[in-house]
């Protein structure tokens, strides 16, 4: 599944940035921290992908990907740090096993799942349950990949079913997707 979207326009935040800067200057040293709920702008990212894994087997092809337009200027010296907070939710309906969530990042959609830039989290199920994987915090300034305007995010779930009944369920591709931008003290 391949999608584009999640465009975050920084111009919407301009008046807030002005207000934040003014308040910081008036209140001594401090940082301006923006937590942007990207998912609220692109609710369709909260898509569900089903899985059905026979007992004693495993699959690794339950996956989804989407594009993110990152706000410009993240590499600016006034930006202290930027991180992406990501979480996915697994709704296990039957069976038991282990679900591992992997996030891949790349600048092109075709190579996203072969990228070496990735983060992972996992959960163990013994029966029907709903578990959130993550949230995983990805420091975007740690790699030059994240200073580009377009970022592709690939989400892959690996399911290893215990011996016994078929492990079935679905996972919500994106449950939490937040961009956290921290500006240094002197914004102006």
């Amino acid at each position: 599944m391949l999608r584009t979207g999640a465009r975050m326009s920084v111009t919407r935040l301009t008046w807030l940035a002005v207000a934040a800067g003014v308040m910081i200057l008036g209140c001594g040293e401090g940082r301006a921290i923006f937590n942007v709920d990207v998912l609220s702008y692109e609710p369709q990212l909260a898509d569900t992908v089903p899985y059905a894994v026979p007992g004693g087997t495993s699959i690794t092809q339950v996956r989804d990907s989407f594009g993110l337009d990152l706000p410009g200027g993240l590499g600016n010296s006034t930006v202290d740090s930027v991180s992406l907070l990501y979480a996915s939710t697994v709704l296990n309906a039957a069976g038991g096993g282990k679900v591992r969530l992997e996030m891949f990042f790349d600048s092109t959609p075709g190579n996203v799942f072969s990228s070496t830039v990735m983060r992972a989290d996992s959960a163990v199920f013994t029966g029907p349950d709903t578990v959130m994987l993550g949230p995983i915090s990805v420091p975007l300034l740690a790699d030059s990949l994240f200073t580009q305007s377009k970022l592709w995010v690939g989400v892959r779930a690996s399911v290893v079913a215990n011996a016994g009944p078929v492990m079935t369920g679905r996972f919500v591709t994106v449950s939490v997707l937040r961009l956290r931008i921290i500006f240094q003290d002197k914004v102006f």
Partner: protein, 442 residues
């Protein structure tokens, strides 16, 4: 335009919220700074607000003919590239505005410590939460602002206590009052709501003119060792011009907080009234009264200024300024022209006591209310030969205790004085220290 408006209003808030305590404690005279603002002679607030002091003879060797401040603080300011390096990326216009409104004449030997305060915004397509941290304490629940009344010059002649002359005066006052929704949003971390108005009420006035004055100040009972002095002045205020604003400004959120290119719509509704220079002059009477009782080493005084000082402006124009969301611009419409309006000067009270304890020790107390809060100052001076040691304590307009101390040396008609004064930031209880220096000619 919208961003400039936000910046302008914000700068106004900041300047208004800047602590006035430093200005109250510091004067152009390092001697008074060293006594937490108390005047032991006839200068400063005593001579200004108590007309009876025009008649009270100066104590021997106490009052200087004039005092020249040594502006060491200006050198410190000129090195501040955030305020004067206009082309740099870190140029800070608010810092520059702060310097203009609060000139740092004296040297800051210990800056008031500022703590780290993060400001956090949580933003979604339909949600906005602002966490100002400790800075939320700064968001005022009551009206806040700044202002003052000045008599820039008093020209006239005084014969046997009777004074005839004219003074040049000006008065300015600017105030804000946050609306309930904006107050909760900023102070109580209340999430922003859709289709809601967030605004602030504001009012301001600036007026200036001249005032022909007649007055009397003299001893009405007793002799030079023990007596009562009265002072009274009657002013006929002639206003050259004035401008006033009164209204609300803010923004209204839409159906969705962050959707489209204009997530919020400005809401402005302000009445602007003014009488330009060249119009028929404003006019009105006002008076000052004062009394001083002297008995040996003790003197007690009370003065009150601008009693009943209400000006009538017979040729006023009133406009209504609004923001037209359809045309996306400010629109001004005339409400009335050549109509009468009134303005008022705030009343100021001062009470003081001075005690010459002998042994070259003098102590003083002064309570001042200029319509914008009360200050209480207590100071003492001990002279030892050519040296003088000074100390004082003040409760400032924000009810915080500040200290002053200093010393001076005098050689014949020349005196060199240094005074230190503490001051507090708005959030931190820790104090900074300012050093004032001045030269006096006796």
């Amino acid at each position: 335009m919208r961003h400039r408006l936000v910046l302008l209003v914000s700068a106004g808030w900041l300047v208004g919220m800047t602590p006035a305590a430093r200005a109250q404690l510091l004067s152009s005279d390092a001697r008074r700074t060293g006594m937490a603002g108390v005047s032991l002679s006839r200068d400063g607030a005593l001579g200004r607000f108590n007309p009876a002091y025009q008649a009270v003879p100066a104590r021997e060797g106490r009052a200087a003919k004039f005092t020249i401040p040594i502006p060491l603080g200006l050198f410190q300011v000129l090195k501040d590239s955030t305020a004067f390096d206009f082309d740099s990326s870190y140029f800070n216009p608010i810092q520059l505005a702060n310097y203009i409104f609060h000139p740092p004449l004296y040297l800051e030997v210990k800056k008031s410590p500022t703590f780290t305060n993060d400001v956090e915004f949580t933003i979604g397509r339909d949600s906005l939460l602002v966490d100002l941290g400790k800075a939320s304490q700064l968001v005022p629940t009551d009206r806040f602002g700044f202002g003052g009344t000045s008599r820039l010059a008093d020209i006239g002649v005084t014969i046997k206590g009777f004074h005839v002359g004219a003074l040049i005066w000006e008065e300015h006052d600017l105030g804000f009052q946050l609306g309930d929704t904006l107050l909760r949003f900023l102070r109580e971390k209340d999430p922003a709501r859709t289709n809601t108005v967030y605004n602030s009420a504001g009012d301001g006035v600036a007026q200036a003119g001249i005032a022909p004055t007649i007055g009397y100040a003299g001893r009405v009972w007793g002799d030079s060792l023990r007596g009562i002095y009265l002072g009274a002045s009657l002013h006929y205020y002639l206003g050259g011009g004035y401008g006033g604003v009164d209204g609300i400004a803010g923004f209204r959120t839409g159906d969705t907080l962050f959707a489209g290119s204009n997530p919020v719509s400005p809401t402005v509704d302000v009445l602007v009234s003014y009488s330009k220079f060249g119009n028929t002059l404003g006019h009105g009477f006002g008076s000052d009264l004062g009394i001083v009782y002297v008995t040996g080493p003790i003197e007690v005084g009370f003065g009150i200024n601008d009693i009943g000082a209400t000006l009538t402006w017979p040729d006023t124009r009133v406009d209504r300024d609004t923001f037209d969301t359809v045309q996306n611009k400010f629109v001004s419409t005339q409400v009335a022209n050549h109509v009468s309006s009134k303005t008022k000067l705030p009343v100021t009270y001062v009470a003081n006591a001075i005690l010459d304890m002998g042994t070259n020790t003098t102590a003083g107390l002064m309570i001042l209310n200029n319509g914008r809060g009360t200050t209480i100052q207590i100071g003492v001076e001990q002279r030892v030969g050519p040296l003088a040691l000074r100390g004082g304590v003040q409760r400032d307009q924000r009810k915080r205790v500040q200290l002053g101390w200093g010393t001076g040396v005098r050689f014949g008609p020349f005196g060199l004085d240094v005074g230190f004064a503490t001051h507090s930031g708005s959030l931190s209880p820790a104090r900074g220290i300012t050093m004032a220096t001045s030269i006096s000619i006796y």
